[in-house]
Amino acid sequence: MLIEIGATLSPANFALAEALAKLGVPLTETNMIEGQSILARLPDVSPAVFALSKALDLPPTPAIMRALSGVLDRSSMTNRLDIGTLDLLSLLPHSGHDANSLSLYIRNLFDKLGQSTENKLLTDPDTANTLKVYDIRSSLLELAATNTGGQTALAADKHASYIEGQQLLNQVSVDRTESSGPLYFAFPILLASREAACEVQLWPAKDQKSRTAEDADKEEYLHATIRVDSERLGVIETTLIGFWSGRLNCTLYAAKPTTVRLLKRESSSLAKALGALGWSVAPITVVKKDRFVALWLGGELLDNPRVRVDQRI
């Protein structure tokens, strides 16, 4: 197929073709040439990032490529902001929070991540002067601009791209599903004084349709996945499905066998904490899981085995 479209059989072309095929993007001469051109100009961008931009119909500008790279390559990011800077930017809920203040903190954080700087400027230009203080992304870019060339500048710029990537993917999800698709938020947290990554995938709120109590026990009210990746406990994923009846199903997944045992031993205290919020919590299930698929829109496709490369078949 590569020969037919005039591409050389190089490892770089194979990688690009593989990435395009995996995300269901047609393997055409135009897509290959565009991909080669972008990847040659932006050496930090992976073929998967270019393929994702094509799959989501996002223009492959340097800023958009960098934003998508921020989400895709988060695990391999080497330039990270130090804990003090994250704290200063209100980007790090620390372990001193109790559940109530942590809840307020997360709400505040999602309010900031859930609206773009552009939308704030567009919808309420009067607040533009306060954006420099309250908008995380523009604060990060400000930090990058004032520390030109330094490690902090690079890390701040990368974190800003990471936020832009989340917002871009969420906007595509909103556009494609008419606001019914999943949203993705990611932020660092402190676990036992060490930074860990927290990702949340959630489905937007829906109005109640059920009329009877029986139906209300089947109709979802809240649906979210919370994934935390820490050095000590490994990956722990929690799925929460709440129903209009007030019943809550909670499942815990972990990669490490020691963490699975620990979760099984301690899950009753989580059930108690969720019950205190007003939920009728069904017995919590703990499951060992080895494969964790990316939680952002399009991420699951990257983990699926490709069906075929040749799109003409």
């Binding site: 100009r41 500008t61 559940a99 809840s103 533009a128 420099k132 400000e142 709440g242 989580l270 904490a273």
Partner: protein, 92 residues
Amino acid sequence: MTKDSAARMIEEETALALHISSYDDSQEQPSEKTHIADEILKSARQHRVQLRQDPLLVEHLANYNVIGSIHPELYPSVAGILTFLQRLSVDA
């Protein structure tokens, strides 16, 4: 990053931006959205708010506001889970 590599990156990005810009110009007239993106960039410059100077990124993020779509009950539930994990990681 060295000064040379930073300069090279800017050069490359400018070249790519020009390439994309000329591609777009040949395909269609500037859209209403692009006009809005220019207005947003103008407003950002006016108020000295840091923003990526990429009209296509700005255009895609111009409507992004999902705050109203999030369940208020989500926050205490997520906080309950994170508090549980924080305690677990200290005890482990």
